[in-house]
């Protein structure tokens, strides 16, 4: 009962994604204001770059793919209907561009081990958890089923709402929540050394 009491102030909280903060920018762009797109780029280039960087293993490639994603977004924004948020729409484009890039460059991609080495070399010391612990976590994430991995990363690393995660993972919001739960559960099992196959 005290658990419920502790949560009561949050019951009145507004839904996380009630309006799209980028909708006005998209509308202004559709009305011919080119600078509105520059603002969209400024707002989302970091998120897009980090999202893409989880797929491609070189920084320069991530920059190229990010640029490609924004070019596609520029071409399509005039016909963007607003059924999803602008952010999740751009992220969807970025994921598609990254997957397409991976298909085209499959043989050139470094191994996962190289990626981990790179991450450790570049990590900011103040924020780092133990290097080994971080590597274990990443390795565990890498073992998740693709859908769970996608949902977990979008939620935890990209700070997307479950609604946006659902739009990107092409499932219902409830399915996204359930997938998130099983991803966390599986991760816990993997980190505990209980590798018996997930859900």
């Amino acid at each position: 009962m005290d658990v419920l009491a502790a949560r009561l102030p949050l019951l009145d909280a507004a839904p996380a994604v009630s309006t799209d903060p980028d909708a006005e920018l998209a509308e202004r762009f559709r009305n011919g204001e080119r600078a509105a797109f520059d603002q969209i780029v400024r707002r989302h280039q970091k998120g897009v770059w980090y999202l893409v960087r989880r797929y491609v293993k070189r920084d320069a490639d991530a920059s190229d793919v990010s640029q490609q994603a924004f070019v596609r977004a520029f071409k399509g924004l005039a016909t963007f209907r607003g059924t999803a948020t602008v952010r999740s729409w751009i992220y969807r484009i970025a994921i598609n561009c990254a997957l397409s890039w991976l298909r085209d460059h499959r043989r050139e991609e470094p191994t996962e081990i190289a990626e981990d080495a790179l991450v450790e070399a570049n990590a900011a010391p103040a924020k780092i958890m133990g290097g080994q612990e971080g590597a274990q976590l990443r390795a565990a994430i890498g073992q998740l089923p693709p859908k769970q991995k996608l949902v977990l990363e979008l939620r935890v690393f990209d700070d997307l709402s479950f609604k946006e995660v659902a739009e990107l993972a092409e499932c219902t919001e409830n399915t996204a929540k359930v997938n998130f739960h099983y991803a966390v559960k599986r991760l816990r099992e993997l980190l505990a050394g209980d590798d018996d196959g997930g859900r």
């Binding site: 949560r7 920084d59 070019v71 991450v119 900011a124 780092i128």
Partner: protein, 215 residues
């Protein structure tokens, strides 16, 4: 049945921990009830919170690029697709106004400075004063002359027609089939007259002095 329901509620536990505001009021209440009943689940809630915290502390992959360079790169790539009209693009920006200005100047020069405007206009046909044949005052032939000028139906004096007929001394076979009262070559000058000349000619011929001859 209750087990299935509980399982569904447990599946919302991570979403409950990570974003309670994104659950409906009913979902929140169900998870709260479950947590209140099950101490093991409360322990799992704590573990989940700790794990999500660890995940969020993971450093991002790669090293940060130069964000302003990336933004410039995107801006340059997008500018090439910019649907601005061709004439406003940089390479045409100076050529198009220059050509337009030159063409306007040329047209204005042609319109405002016409050096010899009269040369372009055709000279009006000179009014030729045809000699009116001297006729016998008694002769009524000259009265029918306007017939040839304006083409309106006029009553021609029978005497005149007879006179024409009588004057032809050529035989029937030597005349062309299209022969008329007068040879057409004699009338070609009429076609060259303009309206003003015809009016003047008519006035001239209608004047009683010329029509009737000196009395």
């Amino acid at each position: 049945m209750a087990g299935d329901k509980d399982r569904g509620d447990v599946e919302l536990l991570s979403a409950y921990v990570d974003g309670i505001a994104e659950l409906s009021l009913d979902e929140r209440k169900r998870v709260d009830d479950l947590l209140a009943r099950d101490p093991a689940l409360r322990a799992r809630e704590t573990d989940t919170r700790a794990l999500l915290g660890q995940l969020r502390e993971l450093p991002p992959p790669g090293s940060e690029p130069d964000w302003s360079a990336l933004e410039r790169g995107i801006g340059d790539a997008v500018r090439e697709l910019d649907p601005q009209p061709w004439w406003s693009k940089s390479r045409w920006r100076f050529i198009v106004p220059g050509v337009a200005l030159a063409m306007t100047a040329a047209i204005l020069a042609l319109v405002l400075h016409d050096p010899q405007p009269d040369l372009a206009r055709p000279e009006p046909a000179p009014i030729t004063q045809h000699e009116t044949p001297v006729v016998d005052p008694a002769d009524e032939l000259s009265a029918s002359t306007p017939l040839w000028l304006d083409g309106t139906d006029l009553e021609v004096a029978l005497e005149a027609a007879e006179l024409f007929d009588l004057d032809w001394d050529l035989d029937e076979e030597s005349l062309p089939e299209t022969a008329e009262l007068l040879p057409p070559t004699d009338l070609e000058w009429i076609d060259e007259l303009d309206g003003e000349s015809l009016d003047r000619a008519e006035q001239f011929l209608d004047h009683p002095r010329h029509r009737r001859g000196p009395s």
